[in-house]
């Protein structure tokens, strides 16, 4: 149980940091693509008896390549093409898993995670990856910020937009790959978006947004695991459900507050 909590907290921290950029840069679509893309990779790895993370990494790489090619080749209908790529990868994953004897059990485990089955070795890999992601977010903070503001501005400022966009995708992929065992390939998307989006609702500063995303993410994980333990519900799904509910509660509260107090005029912002 303690190991599950540690795994869940690591997922929350990594997802909060990377998710902040995913939300600001509007990469939700890519996050979704990765979540779907890792499924066939994991399935193949499982059939071959290889570690799931390696399969997930290969799947993510193929998915990023696929999305990039589709976006460049078909400008007009990239939405439909990428959507089909999602479903195609999902179907491929299910087809591969269906060859295994314990079909439904394996599929459930990959899609929705098995936070209670995280091994000490998995946990170690996860910890290292989370540290790397945090370090990268710190070092590349300036180009990432420029990229969120305006990719053209990043390019003209001497930070090649394509390179740093690729780096950002790499961080998203890394987070998805090391997180899927705990919360599953489908649910990791929720941890990527919900806490960061909640933070975005509440604050006008990027650092505060990232910090509050970590607080919301880890809080949701703790509460979710507690509920799951006491009411015997699926752990990963409960955690993501809590994070999502928190988002909509905050969204409603923010809207109600905006209705009650008219929008403060910028003239009121003086020196602090």
């Amino acid at each position: 149980m303690l190991r599950a909590l540690a795994a869940g907290l690591l997922v929350s921290i990594g997802c909060a940091v990377v998710g902040t950029f995913v939300v600001l840069r509007g990469l939700a679509f890519i996050g979704d693509a990765l979540a779907h893309g890792v499924l066939p990779g994991v399935a193949v790895a499982m059939l071959l008896g290889l570690p799931g993370m390696i399969g997930a990494a290969v799947g993510a790489a193929i998915m990023i390549g696929g999305v990039t090619v589709v976006t460049q080749r078909s400008r007009l209908s990239s939405d439909s093409a990428i959507g089909l790529l999602f479903v195609g990868m999902l179907a491929l994953g299910v087809v591969i898993v269906s060859r295994s004897s314990s079909f439904s059990g394996d599929l459930t485990r990959i899609l929705f995670g098995e936070i209670l089955g995280v091994s000490p070795a998995d946990l170690a890999v996860q910890a290292v990856a989370t540290l790397l992601v945090i370090a990268a977010a710190f070092v590349f903070y300036r180009p990432f910020l420029l990229l969120c503001f305006d990719p053209d501005q990043a390019q003209v400022s001497g930070f090649p937009a394509r390179r740093y966009h690729g780096l950002m995708l790499l961080l998203v992929a890394t987070t998805v790959i090391v997180s899927f065992q705990a919360v599953g390939t489908l649910l990791v998307f929720g941890m990527l978006l919900a806490p960061a989006a909640t933070g975005a609702l509440l604050t006008g500063r990027l650092r505060t947004m990232m910090a509050s995303a970590i607080v919301f993410g880890t809080g949701s994980t703790y509460v979710g695991l507690l509920i799951s333990y006491n009411f015997d519900t699926a752990a990963g799904a409960t955690v993501v459900l809590v994070a999502t509910i928190v988002f909509f509660v905050v969204l409603t509260a923010a809207n109600v507050r905006a209705e009650l107090t008219s929008r403060p005029s910028a003239a009121g912002w003086g020196h602090e």
């Binding site: 503001f149 003209v156 400022s157 001497g158 930070f159 006008g204 500063r205 990027l206 912002w269």
Partner: protein, 305 residues
């Protein structure tokens, strides 16, 4: 108004009028421009466009340091494409384009750029000062901390654009005009040798335009070159050179010579003479870019002819 009007004279920050150095080096009072004799922009038989399909061909122009160029034309006339080529965002389709003697892609250290769309501004959880501080990132790289001179430049730029009291306000709480002032402060804080601005006065009120013309006039006096795209004919008259674009080069030359009724008709499609008593003789320029005519601006014919 001192300066983008600097066809002949530039007003220094101290307020003294000096001869505009059309011939570089002549009559300079300030520190010499960083690349004194090298043109900030030099285009020869230039063709710009997207994916090897030219939008405008045959552009020949030179912009020296301390001088300004305005691109005037409808939406889709090639203004933004040319600006993007100048800052290296769009590969040129044909001909030669040099920025301080280098290829545009290699000249980013000389450039300050203001693009047209900042859609992300609505959600970005940043304060006004955070936007302006980004201007120093190119000089500082990934990790070098802000020094006092960087902070001074940021403070000076915000003061110049009149947004100092908004420094701590979230960007999304600002009006369109206030945001535009913040973006212009960002370009100022860059301290670049070539300033490239797409629709710099979009969303600014009359006061904002005054502040813009004054601030960037002083940038010219400092030694920078200025290239902007604009819909605003009255503003374009103030520039050293005006390039009229309509998916081809209609005319290039000093604003007052180029902005004639005939040429504007050629550029915009519809020009109406206002016969109302108070605006006797004024021209109203309308765009037919998107089917229905849209009034762009009015200007005094006497001024232009």
């Amino acid at each position: 108004m001192n300066a983008p009007r600097s066809t002949e004279t530039v007003v220094t920050p101290a307020g003294r009028a000096v001869r505009s150095p059309r011939h570089p080096g002549a009559g300079q009072t300030d520190a010499p421009a960083p690349s004194g004799f090298v043109p900030a922009v030099r285009a020869v038989e230039l063709a710009v466009g997207y994916e090897r399909t030219p939008v405008v061909e045959g552009i020949d122009l030179t912009v020296m340091p301390r001088t300004s160029l305005a691109l005037v034309g409808t939406n889709g006339s090639g203004k933004s494409t040319l600006l993007k080529s100048i800052v290296g965002l769009q590969p040129v389709v044909g001909g030669t384009l040099e920025i301080f003697g280098k290829s545009p892609e290699a000249a980013s250290s000389h450039l300050g750029y203001l693009g047209q769309a900042h859609a992300s501004g609505f959600i970005l959880p940043l304060r006004a000062i955070d936007i302006v501080r980004m201007a120093r990132f190119p000089n500082l790289g990934l990790l070098r901390p802000f020094k006092s001179e960087d902070n001074d430049l940021v403070a000076w730029a915000m003061e110049t654009m009149g947004v100092t009291r908004l420094a701590k306000a979230p960007l999304r709480a600002l009006s369109g005009g206030q945001q535009q002032r913040v973006y212009l402060a960002q370009v100022l804080a860059r301290r670049a040798d070539l300033l490239v601005l797409d629709e710099p006065t979009a969303g600014l009120d009359a006061g904002g335009r005054e502040v813009y013309l004054d601030a960037f006039g002083r940038e010219l006096a400092r030694g920078a070159a200025l290239v902007t795209a604009t819909h605003d004919i009255a503003e374009a008259v103030e520039y050293d050179q005006v390039l009229l674009l309509a998916r081809r080069v209609v005319a290039l030359g000093p604003g007052r010579e180029v902005l004639t009724a005939d040429r504007l008709l050629d550029t915009f499609g519809i020009v109406v003479r206002d016969t109302h008593r108070e605006h006797q003789g004024r021209l109203v320029v309308a765009e037919r870019a998107h089917g229905s005519p849209q009034v762009v601006d009015t200007f005094d014919e006497e001024d232009a002819l």
